[in-house]
Symmetry: C2
Subunit: 366 residues, 2 copies
């Protein structure tokens, strides 16, 4: 793929474009329609800012441009960090028409979006995601928020960005481990609703890890098209949007158990996906052959398939029960009927979930 | 008035009732339609909880009921206090279907509403306002949030309650100073859009201060009817909802200058209203005779008419410039054309605003 692709997240008056292409961070005309007032504030972190902040400042030079640089890492995705953003916005006398620009990965996007949701009861923001995970998942859809010591993403808001501007060149500076973690969310779209994409990933996984530009751009566009369709149908997660959480209830438990930031979110989701597939097979819903394909693709992407050895099965279960997906005390999970078809269900024997966890937490990888 | 009045805030699928009457805190059937899941959490403060918490717990005994008791006062309307509410909700494993119940004045309502807006990206809440100010103004309309050292209500969200349940009996335990402060917001509705109500208040002000039950209920209902109409037309304050801020830009500057909690919000709004009237007369928009009527009604309500002596005019101006109503550097103010007609305007000579502030801050009361 060359040039530049525009997708739209169709949400009525809150609709917004997703722009995907090389070098988009240099194109002020893509930012202009999404900037409301005369002030912009770039929120970034200590890893990304040295790479791209000055370039982005030049692109935004038509506006009064400030910046807030946060420490890097999931463990800083807290209310305290959001409070630092508020301090900076107020110290610079930012008005209600200020536009925030999130330059970084999923943590920066989630923090910036939540700050935008709450500053003066809501200001616009633009996502400029620089990790694969943020480009294919967290920057699209308006879920914003921070973690609490007792649970991930427990504090937040739905607040849609005014634009998502994905410069695929920023993947050139991304750590390989981060690239692999992003693939976990890419694979998710194939599993929950796009079997053709899953097969395409089986063919192209190796080339993606070698950062073939055109293939990465295609993987991002196909992922965003799936995400945009799901979000447009179900902005507030009343129904099918919950399918996007495949592997996440298991994954969040792992992230909470090991401490935020030890495992990457995508790594935890990969394990969660493997566990969801395992339980789905035990329920007789998924064929063992399909589970093997899933495990092979995750492994080929360099992703883990089992929880860290230190976590016991009962600890996993306890942490999963804290998840937002609990309703009336019953844990709802995203499970698989086949590659390309997922369901949200609380209708499973809890003994089977325990088997899945006991098997996985004793170290076997299925 | 006896029995009980129901008004509706008409916001499509987010519409909700305002119930007004004596002893409503004892009526579970008014709460039931607004409770979504099986858990309720009452958020209250150290002043109100000893008076009404046990009664309300009994009313809500059909649900799993928890409580969070916060310190009392505007100076606790901070992000740190909201964070304490999150801690309590997570420690009690509250689910996404939990319903929060704000039992207290405007501070409790604003904190609880903001916590409800952000907990797990949004849970329902019910307002049970126990001060006149909260009953006639802050509990209706979905503005929630907290203060920042650099500005009032700078962090927050629009999040509509599922119901507002106003038990007029709770005014029986309200300090007289708080009752007076509430009248400032009641008078506001007369000034901005209801001249008949203003005249009614001129006649009945003394009886209201003596806590005549029927008259208080009527004043609350007429105030809420005005507020509900404004909010239904303009939920997000794109237009006429801004008129509800009459006196508030001046008032917030006073509150910030003296430190949150020294002056009551309504007291600061009363002074702000007097200053807005003064500037309106200087602009030739309001007749001096009408200004005198306004000052007389504020004075009869026992409200202050001038800022504290310690604040200089240039300090007032500097603090007003931090207000959310600033757009492109120009301060928009709510000003009066007559009793019953207000306008939002940035179209005034700043020299006249300075005259208003210099006159007021030198201690003269007009």
């Amino acid at each position: 793929m060359s040039g530049h692709t525009t997708l739209t997240v169709d949400l009525g008056e809150r609709s917004y474009p997703i722009e995907i292409g090389r070098g988009l961070r240099h194109r002020p005309e893509l930012f202009a329609p999404a900037v409301r007032g005369g002030q912009v504030v770039i929120v970034s972190n200590e890893t990304v800012a040295p790479l791209y902040l000055e370039e982005l400042r030049r692109t935004l030079s038509a506006w009064e441009c400030h910046e807030v640089i946060l420490p890097d890492g999931e463990r800083f995705k807290t209310l305290e960090t959001v409070s630092q953003v508020f301090d900076a916005l107020l110290a610079r006398r930012c008005e209600r028409s200020v536009t925030l620009v999130a330059l970084g990965g999923g943590v920066i996007g989630d923090i910036t979006g939540f700050a935008a949701a709450c500053y003066q009861r809501g200001v616009p923001f633009i996502q400029v995601p620089t990790t694969l995970l943020a480009q294919v998942d967290s920057s699209v859809g308006g879920k914003t928020g921070v973690n609490h010591p007792l649970g991930k993403n427990m504090i937040g808001a739905f607040h849609q960005p005014n634009a998502v501007i994905i410069d695929t060149e920023t993947l050139g500076t991304l750590e390989l481990r981060q690239l692999r973690a992003g693939l976990a969310e890419v694979i998710k779209y194939g599993l929950i609703r796009d079997p053709g994409f899953f097969s395409w990933l089986e063919l192209n996984c190796a080339a993606l890890l070698e950062r073939d530009d055109d293939l990465l751009a295609e993987a991002i566009a196909r992922s965003c098209r799936n995400k945009a369709a799901v979000v447009a149908d179900d902005e507030r997660e009343a129904g099918q949007r919950a399918l996007l959480n495949l592997g996440h209830t298991f994954g969040h438990a792992i992230e909470t158990a090991v401490g935020y930031g030890e495992w990457l979110h995508g790594e935890a989701v990969a394990v969660g996906t493997a566990l969801a597939a395992d339980l789905s097979v035990r329920l007789g819903w998924l064929q063992e052959g399909e589970r093997q394909r899933i495990l092979r693709l995750l492994a080929a992407s360099g992703l883990p398939l089992a929880p860290p050895a230190a976590i016991a099965a009962d600890e996993m279960l306890r942490l999963m029960a804290l998840d937002k997906k609990v309703s009336a005390g019953q844990l709802r999970l995203v499970l698989l009927r086949s590659i390309g078809q997922a369901v949200v269900s609380a209708d499973y024997a809890s003994a089977l979930l325990q088997e899945t966890l006991l098997t996985a937490c004793s170290g076997r990888q299925g």
